[in-house]
């Protein structure tokens, strides 16, 4: 099997914004209190009574063209070989915060212990054959995780058959978290 390129597909028609994914992530990854690696964004558009609402579970987009990686002076912020996921090596991070400024999604934060932290796509679980914590707990099964380069994967199938968008495509970062509409 070739090296996967992991991505996430989230069905905004199923998401109810229950925040189970947020809580699961905080528990699984020991996220410090007052911080979050994933969060719920809600958009309401239209004119009353013709309103539409989109609820999105958001996180680091593990972009194909990650500005947070290219700006890092130490290489702490890097693209992992396995899964091509964007990671931060805590003991290489000097906390200069350039990556926080470079990320158009605000997906990163400075951990109270002094290094930059963010979503890892739960690679420690994925390597054991499990889904990321957020995906595994979703009560509406609105999230799907998998290899975008494998045409037979569920994520690829959903992206072929459903309408979708990504966040801030104009930033040119080529994000890998897709939202079905």
């Amino acid at each position: 099997m070739s090296n996967p390129r992991f991505g996430m597909v989230i069905d905004t028609r199923k998401c109810v914004g229950c925040m189970d994914c947020v809580v699961a992530c905080q528990t699984e990854n020991d996220v410090p209190q007052g911080f979050c690696r994933d969060w719920i964004a809600t958009e309401v558009r239209g004119t009353f009574p013709a309103l539409t609402m989109e609820i999105r579970s958001e996180r680091c987009n593990h972009c194909d063209n990650p500005p947070c990686v290219s700006c890092c002076p130490t290489g702490a912020s890097h693209v992992e070989e396995f899964g091509r996921v964007v990671h931060v090596t805590a003991n290489r991070c000097i906390g200069c915060k350039a990556c926080l400024a470079a990320c158009p999604y605000g997906a990163r934060y400075v951990h109270p212990e002094g290094y930059v932290d963010k979503c890892t796509f739960c690679m420690h679980r994925v390597k054991e054959g499990k889904d990321p914590a957020c995906v595994s707990v979703c009560p509406t099964h609105c999230m799907v995780f998998g290899d975008l380069d494998d045409p037979k994967s569920r994520v690829s199938e959903l992206l072929r058959t459903r309408k979708w968008h990504v966040n801030l495509p104009e930033a040119g970062t080529r994000p890998r978290v897709y939202y079905l509409t």
Binding site: S70, C71, C96, K97, G114
Partner: protein
């Protein structure tokens, strides 16, 4: 209507990014001043190498002052780090795509150039050091006795000075996520502002350290070594006037670059136009137009114009205003830039 809510509340990130406080503007400002001083000192060295009369060149002695200022900037940078004990990690690698990595390595070279440049006037500036450590005196002589070495050092100062000046802008300019910074005028603006701030800093320093004859003891000599007047006579009136004229030109270029910056933002994408609003009616309007443009550029131009026509005496006031404007330029750009973001294009209905 369009309403957006988020449950995210990460400190420093929400509601608006604010991860860089006073330290980074100070570091960028000091970097600009040092860059300006290196360029001006480099030019003075090149003129000396050609055998010109160096009487009245204050600038040639500025490397030591620049060295101390750079230490101040690096201290500010260190204070900004969330993990300062790991700062050495920067020097274990070279990340070719990271402006900060380039900057870290270039600053090491700059430290070296500044220290070697400080040897140029060691003999006049701080004879105590030369007497105590004859080897330093020999190094100094090796540079000053050879026009070739002197002009090489001059060119190094000019090139790395320009490099550092541009770098302070590129550090911000390369971030697509911050539209206020993401304009290629910024590095040039920071370079030109650094040149005029460097000249102004030198001007101010000569007022404090420029006594004639210079003190020669260990402590007095050390202080006066920052900026050492050359020779017993003050510079000729024509030299002073030409420096003032040069400063007016630099400030005028800065004005044009600021106009281009605002115009460029306004006529670019929705995100850039939104970012421009931060200084056009937004929270940074007064600091931008009042302090940077009026107090930091227009007033110094007017005052120096009057000085040139001998209507008012030559004072240190325009230099102080230029320095204040230079710092506030970095402060506004760093703070307003963090508050600027890529706005969602309203295409999805």
């Amino acid at each position: 209507m369009f309403e957006f809510t988020t449950t995210r509340h990460n400190p420093g990130v929400d509601p608006l990014l604010h991860v860089w406080g006073w330290e980074i503007p100070l570091y960028l400002f000091v970097g600009g001043v040092v860059a300006g001083m290196m360029v001006i000192a480099g030019v003075a060295m090149l003129r000396t190498a050609k055998g010109e009369d160096t009487r009245g060149f204050f600038s040639i002695q500025t490397p030591l002052l620049a060295f101390m200022l750079l230490n101040l900037g690096m201290l500010a940078l260190l204070l900004d780090l969330a993990h300062p004990l790991y700062v050495w990690a920067v020097y274990l690698t070279f990340q070719v795509a990271s402006p900060m990595s380039w900057g870290s390595w270039v600053l090491l070279i700059v430290y070296g150039i500044l220290l070697v440049s400080a040897l140029v006037r060691l003999h006049e500036a701080w004879p105590w050091l030369g007497r105590t450590f004859p080897v330093v005196e020999r190094w100094s002589h090796a540079i000053t006795s050879s026009p070739g070495r002197m002009s090489l050092l001059g060119w190094l100062n000019v090139l790395f000075g320009v490099g550092v000046g541009i770098y302070t802008g590129i550090l911000l300019n390369t971030m697509v996520a911050r539209p206020l910074w993401n304009t290629s005028v910024l590095p040039v603006l920071f370079l030109v502002s650094g040149l005029s701030a460097g000249a102004a800093a030198m001007h101010v320093a000569t007022r404090f350290f420029g006594r004639r004859p210079a003190p020669q003891g260990m402590i007095g000599g050390f202080l006066s070594a920052f900026v050492q007047p050359l020779g017993p006579e003050p510079p000729a009136r024509s030299t002073v006037d030409s420096l003032i004229r040069l400063d007016i030109v630099l400030l005028a270029i800065e004005l044009v670059l600021i106009a281009l910056l605002v115009l460029g933002l306004l006529t670019s994408t929705a995100s850039h136009a939104e970012a421009a609003k931060l200084v056009l009616g937004g929270p940074y309007t007064t600091a931008f137009w009042g302090v940077i443009v009026v107090a930091g550029i227009l007033v110094p131009i007017a005052l120096q114009g009057l000085e040139l026509s001998h209507r008012i005496p030559h004072t240190v006031l325009p230099a102080l205003l230029v320095l204040a404007g230079g710092y506030v330029l970095r402060w506004v750009m760093v703070n307003a830039g963090q508050a600027s973001e890529v706005v969602q294009a309203a295409v999805r209905q």
